[in-house]
Symmetry: C2
Subunit: 228 residues, 2 copies
Amino acid sequence: MERHFETSLRDLKQQLVGMAGYVEKAIDLAADVLTRRDPAQIEEIFAVEKEINKRHLAVDNASVTLLALQQPLAADLRLIVAVLKMNTDLERMGDQAVNIAYALKDLLARPNFRAPKDLLEMFTHAKFMVGEALDSFVQKSPALSRDVLKRDETVDALKNKIFRETVEKMKADPAQIDDGLGIILIARNLERIGDHATNIAEDVIFAATGEDIRHGYKVETLREALKK
Amino acid sequence: MERHFETSLRDLKQQLVGMAGYVEKAIDLAADVLTRRDPAQIEEIFAVEKEINKRHLAVDNASVTLLALQQPLAADLRLIVAVLKMNTDLERMGDQAVNIAYALKDLLARPNFRAPKDLLEMFTHAKFMVGEALDSFVQKSPALSRDVLKRDETVDALKNKIFRETVEKMKADPAQIDDGLGIILIARNLERIGDHATNIAEDVIFAATGEDIRHGYKVETLREALKK
């Protein structure tokens, strides 16, 4: 029974890692659309998100089944509760990727649209954060988790910079308003992906150490980010 | 033991309802700031959100403790898992209220700023959805849950209308760009509050019936909303 539980837990972790792979793929595809302007890749994002949703339901079911059949205690219980939460965050990242895809659809229709370099950088960071958050989970590494939290500050700072510069451009040339709004909305979607990765990192710290850093940290960084 | 479990469950539900009350209060305060332009109320939103965060941790701990001590099965297990998820959604609504508060801070600094009627209507619907989602949970009423899902479509439609009309105004008069962006961002925050209430309603349907309507519904309405 004990051995079976260990196997199930390992399997659950693997499912979560697989799901995160799809999230990374969706982010990659979106960044690619921006640079190559290939509309076929937008459709691929929708397909990837469907896969994420399927896996979301599967992980949820597997977690509840494990709770019911194994009635785990202490660390194992905390771990499964953390999986349930991470699963939600990964699924919501998929939603954000779909939001980005719709914004990209509009932007591709405008031949003069150029993405700012900072936006592409946000994509890179966001994708990295997803991978790192999952690594921190699999390796039970609070150090990696804390790195995710740090990178989230970079993502927030980039978003604020893009926001500021884009608004300036829109004011200087109202013909830029549609493009500018698209850029701002994508930047916010990426910021949210970063937030979800941060949630995962916080859950890992909680599952690994029982230390709940969630609100102290969040309120502080939120304030800092919004002050900029 | 059984009796103690029932009491704990009822207590947990009450905690969640109390937390939702704070979320409603934060939404109310923000709507009030828009109409009365009272900056003191912005600070109150921050205070309310701190309270929401405190309760979020308490509900999380109570849920995990209940899972550990009572090792519930079937419907009770599904219920506690649903509580964990609803708790996350309520906490994120608090985050959105804080985002709105920061946007309001900027907007209040501009004497000519006027909120569109539709935005105030979004506040009303969003608040209603929070209360209704919680009612559907306490009363175990899938009918109420489905009403939340329906109202979410109204909220999405209002957001799209505000978005469209605000962009037009910005284009016609670039002096409106800052105000317009503030309005668009608040509308999106309210849309997200509606999404979180929808998540809760979906969790209620799942907890009550074991019927998982999440992705079928979500993908469909998301598409519909984004097409408009």
